[in-house]
């Protein structure tokens, strides 16, 4: 075989990996008190699929101290086109696989894993103590249940939800709106996977990024999106 067609072996070129790496917005650009605030926050992410897995990654990189990850499902081959998982994680519980990936980014992030389906009965116990909740499930009924339960029982806890992220539509149509006092809605509000719209990584991740950023803004005290 012609050696010029082989991928180069980069093993020896990898730099030394220190034990502790600081992953967050640098002090030079974010006030230490605000960095500390993010470090002390817990964010509960309900659903660790296309939205939730990517929201989790971005919140970890942003310096959030602790995440509660909730998902009953396992990693499937069909998830890899948009979710923050890898081929060798197929079959693993999503919360376990996601925890592995997040700790590769930041080893000191604290993670609480809940490998269960979120229900009306267990939801409040799961999110208790969080600074903010991210609704990131795919089913519209479950989305409504999460919103109705949390907004009724925890009206003062910020909740970031997503609605309308499927299809080919422009990412410019994905907006963040403060629909009620502590409810932030991300999406175009209309594109529904039940109408046969595909889920593209680019559009799903645009929505996930908007959700993650809404969380960061709220935790930093900016209440308008």
């Amino acid at each position: 075989m012609d050696d010029t067609n082989r991928a180069p072996d980069l093993t020896d070129l990898r730099p030394h990996r220190p034990e502790h790496v600081e992953v967050e917005v640098p002090e030079t650009t974010l006030d230490p008190a605000l960095r500390a605030r993010l470090r002390t926050c817990t964010v509960a992410i309900i659903g660790c699929g296309g939205l939730g897995s990517n929201v989790a990654e971005m919140l970890v990189r942003s310096g959030i101290g602790r995440l509660t990850l909730v998902d009953f499902d396992t990693v499937d081959e069909r998830n890899l086109n948009r979710q923050f998982f890898f081929r060798d994680q197929i079959g693993a519980p999503k919360v376990v696989a996601l925890a592995e990936n997040l700790q590769r980014i930041r080893s000191d992030v604290r993670l609480d894993l809940v490998a269960e389906r979120a229900t009306h009965d267990n939801l409040l116990g799961i999110v208790r103590g969080a600074c903010a909740i991210v609704e990131a499930v795919d089913d519209a009924d479950v989305k409504a249940m999460i919103l109705n339960t949390c907004l009724t029982e925890l009206p003062d806890m910020p909740l970031v939800t997503a609605s309308g992220l499927a299809g080919y539509g422009s990412t410019n149509a994905i907006v963040t709106e403060r629909m009620a006092e502590n409810l932030y809605v991300v999406g175009d509000l209309t594109s529904d996977v039940r109408d046969g719209h595909p889920l593209f990584a680019s559009r799903v991740m645009a929505a996930a990024a908007a959700q993650a950023h809404a969380v960061v803004r709220v935790l930093l005290g900016y209440l308008e999106p």
């Binding site: 089913d139 519209a140 989305k143 907004l151 609605s163 629909m179 009620a180 409810l183 209309t190």
Partner: protein
């Protein structure tokens, strides 16, 4: 009594003027009208929905009062 009603996404097509859009319409309702009564009057489909009155979550059995702003949001699938 006057109550403003905002319908999001595809629910907006159920506004009585049939013009859609998410801007508020002012309804003239009888005293004692509940949110459920308004939903029935509009003919909203039986789909997942989240309801707010004056930017706070509200149950369908809530009785509306003069000056309330009722908003109804139907989350759609995908995540």
């Amino acid at each position: 009594m006057k109550v403003d009603v905002v319908l999001f996404a595809h629910f907006s097509g159920f506004q009585p003027d049939g013009k859609g859009g998410r801007h508020a319409r002012t309804f003239d309702l009888d005293e004692g009208t509940t949110i459920a009564d308004v939903i029935a009057m509009l003919g909203l489909p039986d789909e997942p929905r989240v309801i707010f009155v004056n930017s706070r979550h509200a149950p369908e059995e809530r009785v509306l009062v003069e000056g309330d702003r009722l908003a109804i949001f139907p989350p759609v699938a995908g995540g």
